[in-house]
């Protein structure tokens, strides 16, 4: 017979989001918590992100990923929070039953009063960008290469080409170079890098690795193992320009072509997804459209900095605790709508008449803007505007609105004006 255990709070995912949500819920009086983690360790992707630069917002220090994770793991341990490792969530049902399976415990069901979704995101792979060519070994996503090198101690090639200049791709260009791999170049389809500026400096410029913008890989060569790739320049429509093809010899192609929130479980449970990002619609309490189901971190929207994941997850943990204790947010909620170049906004609804001075709104733009304004409208009335010297799709934007402004609005529309 299957075992069904009653729990106040079940958290799906033991990465930075899940750990922070659990800690905050515990600190807010919820004792009966379990975190479900499919990997053999907690901390999520931080464990393989051995480079530094984490924690500047939270701790004012430049920590490495494992150090950042260790702080939260230790705190969770101190508070006696149960973490089930090597445990996979099969599905979540509408009545908040989380069905799990693990080699140690077999099938175990949890009946939760509240759930926090903290599954994070995953990398887009070769089929997602429809790369043509042969199908040899040696085509990896950047995060996989990172795991192979930093966790398993295995360098999977000697000459690398990197497609995509997202942060993980840039970080891996440096890591591969330091491990003795000849990194030929980084190719980026767009006219700008989606990575942070400082990563271009310290990961590419430091090692003389060229970055080619407006370029892509059009063919992969090799029967058993990658022997090379054909790259080409692209036009404004991002189509390869005939005659610009060039052959680059390599034995690995590393893909850093974007991240998508991992929401298969959410979809199965009936939680509403944002079709623009694959993330989730949440309100200012990090509550999804399902009663008692909260979400935080990269499963909601992909963040640049783990510090912001932690801040968001603290909020989710606090609100889940309030929900379990029966505290409901009675205030009227209004819609927050992205427009004019803003792709999405988190949260997508916000409560009026709350006991707080300000509320945060996070979003990304669809293209690069220079000397533009972020505008917030209620109907035709301009509520607030913020001057920005630069806005890029690669960097998440964060604005604060006064609760007063929210109280007096019937809807908020956030956009960009040039």
């Amino acid at each position: 017979m299957d075992i069904c255990i009653d729990k106040d709070l079940v958290i799906v995912g033991g990465g930075p989001a899940g750990l922070a949500a659990a800690i905050t819920a515990k600190e807010n009086g919820i004792d009966d918590i379990v975190i479900i983690e499919r990997d053999k360790y907690a901390g999520g992707v931080l464990r393989q992100c051995i480079h530094d630069g984490f924690g500047l917002q939270m701790f004012g220090e430049r920590l490495t990923g494992p150090e950042y994770a260790a702080r939260y793991e230790e705190k969770a341990k101190e508070l006696g929070i149960e973490i089930k490792l090597n445990t996979f969530v099969l599905d979540i049902t509408g009545d908040k039953i989380v069905r799990t399976v693990s080699p140690d415990d077999g099938m175990v069901f949890y009946k939760a009063k509240a759930i926090v979704l903290a599954m994070g995101c995953r990398e887009k792979s070769r089929p997602a960008i429809m790369l043509t060519g042969e199908r040899p070994a040696g085509v990896y996503t950047a995060g996989l290469v990172q795991r192979l090198i930093n966790i398993d101690g295995f360098v999977p090639g000697k000459e690398a080409v990197i497609l995509g200049s997202g942060d993980i791709g840039l970080i891996m260009a440096r890591r591969l170079t330091l491990e003795g791999v000849n990194v030929k170049a980084v190719y980026e389809l767009m006219s700008y890098s989606s990575g942070l500026k400082r990563n271009i400096v310290q990961c590419l410029d430091d090692y003389g690795i060229p970055l080619y913008l407006d370029h892509t890989v059009v063919n992969i060569h090799g029967k058993d193992r990658v022997t090379g790739v054909t790259v080409a320049k692209v036009d404004e429509k991002k189509q390869p320009i005939p005659g610009t093809e060039e052959y680059v010899q390599c034995d690995m192609l590393v893909l850093s072509v974007g991240l998508i929130p991992e929401n298969e479980l959410s979809k199965g449970a009936g939680v509403e997804l944002n079709p623009v990002t694959g993330g989730l619609f949440v309100d200012d309490n990090m509550s999804t459209n399902m009663d008692g189901v909260f979400a935080c971190g990269n499963v909601v929207h992909v963040h640049d900095l783990v510090d912001f994941v932690t801040i968001e997850s603290n909020n989710a943990g606090k609100c889940a605790a309030d929900y379990i204790k029966g505290k409901k947010n009675e205030g009227e909620a209004i819609e927050v709508i992205p427009e004019n170049g803003v792709r999405y906004v988190v949260p997508s609804t916000v409560h009026k008449n709350c006991d707080r001075k300000t509320a945060d709104f996070m979003f990304r733009v669809g293209k690069v803007y220079k000397d533009a304004r972020i505008t917030v409208y209620d109907g035709d009335r301009l509520v607030r505007s913020f001057k920005k010297s630069i806005l890029t799709p690669g960097e998440m934007e964060k604005i604060k609105l006064a609760q007063m402004d929210i109280d007096s609005a019937s809807q908020l529309r956030i956009g960009i004006e040039e």
């Binding site: 464990r47 530094d52 490495t64 330091l178």
Partner: protein, 124 residues
């Protein structure tokens, strides 16, 4: 000797400030512009005199729950020594358990920086 003015992108934090460095006739720094905090001054000054970086890498662990322990240098080391330092770590093996902050190698390649663990590896 007069050096040409240059722009340094600060890597101290994700702001990535572009800091303009102007030099005096004798080659010393005359003016720094465009930084948002004092880390920018420190970084840009070092970058045009003796560029340094924190190195992060890993070392082999014997008898632990993981094969590797992630590590960093206790302070920045000269940029040109990064690859040699990684090579030097290939021959290092440490015994589990390892805690965050354990010094695994002292004074790596005479830089004055120690190699410090950044993770926990329990003994199995």
């Amino acid at each position: 000797m007069k050096r040409e003015d240059t722009v340094i992108t600060c890597i101290a934090c994700p702001n990535g400030c572009d800091i303009k460095v102007s030099f005096a006739e004798d080659g010393s720094i005359a003016k720094l512009e465009g930084y948002k905090c004092k880390n920018g001054i420190t970084y840009a000054t070092a970058e045009v005199t003796a560029p340094e970086r924190i190195l992060t890498s890993s070392v082999a662990v014997v008898g632990g729950e993981f094969k590797l322990a992630s590590v960093k240098t206790s302070k920045p080391i000269p940029k040109g020594m990064m690859k040699d330092a990684v090579k030097a770590l290939y021959s290092v093996k440490v015994n589990a358990p390892v805690k965050v902050g354990d010094v695994l190698v002292e004074n790596i390649l005479g830089t004055g920086a120690d190699i410090v663990s950044t993770c926990v590896v329990e003994k199995v």
